[in-house]
Symmetry: C2
Subunit: 351 residues, 2 copies
Amino acid sequence: MITIHDVAERAGVSIATVSNVINKTKKVSPATASKVQDALKELNYVPNSMAKSLKTNTYNSIGVIAEEISSFNTPPIIDAICAYFDLHGYTVTLCNLRSYSHSEYDTALLRSSLNLLEASRARGIIYVGANSGNVSHIRHLIQLPVVFAYCTASPEDHTITYDNFSAAKMAAQLLVRRGHRRIGLITGSLDQEFVHQRIMGFRAAMVDARLTLPPSFITAGDWSYELSYEQACRLLSMPDRPTAIFAMNDPMACAVIAAAHQCHLRIPEDLSVIGFDDRSCSAYSYPSITTLHIPLYDIGDLAARSLLRMLSGEKIDMDQQLPCSLVERNSVGDAPDVPNTAPIKNAGELS
Amino acid sequence: MITIHDVAERAGVSIATVSNVINKTKKVSPATASKVQDALKELNYVPNSMAKSLKTNTYNSIGVIAEEISSFNTPPIIDAICAYFDLHGYTVTLCNLRSYSHSEYDTALLRSSLNLLEASRARGIIYVGANSGNVSHIRHLIQLPVVFAYCTASPEDHTITYDNFSAAKMAAQLLVRRGHRRIGLITGSLDQEFVHQRIMGFRAAMVDARLTLPPSFITAGDWSYELSYEQACRLLSMPDRPTAIFAMNDPMACAVIAAAHQCHLRIPEDLSVIGFDDRSCSAYSYPSITTLHIPLYDIGDLAARSLLRMLSGEKIDMDQQLPCSLVERNSVGDAPDVPNTAPIKNAGELS
DNA sequence: TTGTATGCGTTATCAC
DNA sequence: GTGATAACGCATACAA
């Protein structure tokens, strides 16, 4: 590799002069400056940023720890992070925890990632969750300044999430506005707190509309297509079946659509369905699914922005929540007049 | 930040001794060793890997340049790359070109990413394409050892791709096996070479089966859902319509399904459809879509493996192609007996 | 077994 | 305006 000494020799000057023309840190006569510039080009010199960091004690990399890069939420967040740090001259080092590959949270992998990041003198870390869950159990392992994106931690941590309550409320309100009075709910795993926030948002809209939510209409899912399919079949075969179903993610909403097909229910004429996440499957489904868009890119952008402000000593809000937005497509329609007389066959048979 | 001097002082030894116990490079008496270990713990010392790299002239980071991290193919590839390099003690620096955000290829962003990588003495680069296309136009910008994943470059470059010809052939063969004789094809953009490879694979299967592919049955798409929908409507309203359609990606296959619904054609009873990519929308569609799985994780893994072997001087194959695999789901059935009498209505109306 | 001293590629301080 | 030279944190050859 070619060093500053090489170009100094080539240009017939000292390394100090070379350094000065590169960094414009002192006045250099035009004549010598151009000699140096020539040598720079000819030798194709690229400064060793590690030596520079070592000398100046200014490190400019940040670490991104992703719980699962293949989760739908992660790429847009990382995208935004990269865009922001590119602009600000930081290098991003990526670590993937691959939490979907392990039955339980792999602390060892996190530890080694953290070690790597500390050894390379990362200024700070953005921890990108994969399921909006709480990660306070691993919080103590992280020494570096950190902001948590798409997950929650302790109250004294910087977290960037989205407003689950309002989003779920919007979903229910849309359904109510379309005349639905019997609305089913297929939730995600109840052991995650944000699921309860969504339930509360949903309930709030129902209360506002003076509607009741029969206990049998709220079914606990586990985010999976398969379980959602079963539950939708159960919901749809009830004597007073719901005329609309809110599923807490898009794959589960797709399962509702499949179940509706099995029950010979048309969407949205006989049954309305609304999803969550705005994943691509919601756009490509037939009919396309009305859903809630999570501002993933904005979450990443705000996380990056917040980390940099933290590092420069600014005070920032600990818990920042971004609003979701309703993406209206074709799976929600007006409530049918006599919904419970719709034909129900084969409910329970998987396609 | 705490340095080796701090721990040496704390332990009452020299920095050489500290270095020796850390790296086990020389024998150290148990007594002093434990003193050092204690100091290490107490001070929470973590070595500065930059200083180490500088001294030993051994750099251990590799760069990943992604054309578009939000493209469906990229996360699994990066996942594999991270997994492999984690294991081998390399740090991965991520750069995202965000090519979907720019009307044309942003050379400036690539240049600056390359500069950053060279400055930080990355050993090599994995370039992750976003659309299997050819990237030889930017090849000359890259000085570092590089392997191209999910894209093609020049013959003298290391590329890891997948076998388009065989994959398309498998798709057609499945359809043929199910008795289809009139098979429609909705292609991707014809300006990409691999699309032609797929067409050739498709044709090869047709020829093997002594079937002809009427020119009107092959329609040039642009990968988009919208155009595919229109083309599927056109295909399905032909007097002797195809009984099966092969769309070159899953979103386009979803569009075919939507068009079939509009034409009151049942899938797979009246029409079979097969997609490509095995994206999540194919699994969540109703009916779920038979498609071709691209071994993305394996592509990333092989790319990482190949780069490391390159760096250690081994000779590796320049162009490595991995096979795709058929994922059979519910959108392909036996050819209908009298397909061209199926009712066709509203063809052309977008849902 | 342990310590001293040198240099990796920079920047920065200080003479000249 | 320019050039020696020290120092950043570390590994290591060599001296003790």
